[in-house]
Subunit: 242 residues, 2 copies
């Protein structure tokens, strides 16, 4: 038996995380539409730190202290904040060198849930390749934590988890896939050919159509537009050295 | 808008059930390897009632009262009981007309979790067609509850959930699929061609190989061998009228 085998598995909801949690794995938090995509974009545009917080009140507290702050609930930017969770909100010089507090419906809750893990990093289609390179270098068990929608399974986070699984397995065969990763690897094989069409039937379709978020969807499904690896250090997300 | 639309969604773990629970849906409990397969077989061979219980102690209590009782933990039949959870244990005249108490690692726990639902029924590949016919007749929202393995996602329960989704959608287009059902419908499209090969990589493979359960696997993946619909009525599972 090769003792260097590593596990990679997928947890489809922050609510389910206690079942998968251990203190040895690296947890990759995934919220494709849109928190983890926005976080990658913010760092790509030079943000210094992001403080993910669970509640709107905490985000407002930081805002009152003069910090930039983003807040989204039910896919809508909240009044009184600088940003929602659209990646477009974080593109430009206004984020450069800044620390930004952020709370979202799903993604920042998942980061919160995973705090006890060995390490927590942020994944999106926008940082897929650098993320996978970084993960393989760590030589650790990996848990992909999909944020879902209000703790329910969702299609887009699972699709990205499938992409990460496929890419990591292709880079290094030492990884043993858990059943969750086996399933989403198959899912990605189907979805990758036509990702936008793939989402035509998803629960997000109606939610996003009403809010006119077509451009956000298209962008969040683009590969490697924000090649950074945000990693949690204490209360801050920072850019990992690559 | 057509007000007659119904929802069908899938919950991948009993642990996650509170997130999906409502009092209006029919819940289909799925534990392909092997509790819900064994339950279908027992009814097909004439069992009168099954009492699913969460603990070994409860099952033993029924056994002491002179009832037949099955108990399985970690895929192994427990000493002092009449049956484990192999479908082969329940084939024959010895179950005819009997009431059987049953506790298993995953399946009976999932039934326990879902007790508050509008109705709870039992699904397996062995009752796929009659189950789907029955479900469509009820004209209700449906939640497929996969038992998983110790609350983790597993491949075989999800594959059956995909089969149920595909079949129900084919019978009647009024069903709107949740993201969980969309994903597993794709999964089933891949897995159905070669179900045994599909499981060559699953977490159950090693677990079952050690226990020499190849025949059980083959049988549990067979279609329509036990065409019954077990439904929960109070503390008893009974055969629904078809």
């Amino acid at each position: 038996m090769n003792l260097d085998f590593k596990k990679i598995d997928c947890c489809f909801s922050p609510y389910l995380y206690p079942v998968y949690a251990d203190t040895e794995s690296i947890v990759v938090v995934i919220d494709v539409f849109r928190a983890t995509s926005a976080i990658c974009v913010a760092f790509h545009y030079g943000a210094d730190k992001i403080i993910p917080v669970a509640t709107v009140e905490e985000a407002m507290e930081y805002k009152k202290q003069g910090m930039l702050a983003g807040a989204e609930r039910n896919a809508i930017k909240l009044d009184g904040f600088d940003f929602g969770n659209s990646p477009y909100d974080y593109m430009g010089n206004h984020v450069k060198g800044k620390t930004i507090a952020l709370t979202t419906t799903n993604g920042t809750q998942a980061i919160e849930a995973a705090r006890g893990a060995y390490k927590v990093v942020v994944g999106s289609f926008l940082n897929l390749d650098v993320l996978c390179d970084w993960l393989v270098k760590q030589n650790r068990d990996i848990l992909l934590l999909c944020s879902g929608w209000k703790n329910k399974f969702n299609l887009e986070d699972s699709l990205l988890a499938g992409a990460v699984t496929e890419k990591i397995k292709a880079k290094n065969n030492k990884y043993i896939l858990g059943d969750g990763c086996l399933a989403i690897k198959y899912l990605f094989q189907i979805g990758k050919e036509r990702p936008t069409k793939f989402f035509n039937y998803s629960s997000h379709k109606d939610r996003f159509a009403k809010l006119n978020l077509k451009e956000d969807i298209r962008y969040c499904l683009s590969y490697n537009m924000a090649p950074v690896v945000p990693v949690l250090e204490g209360k801050f997300l920072v850019k990992a050295a690559l």
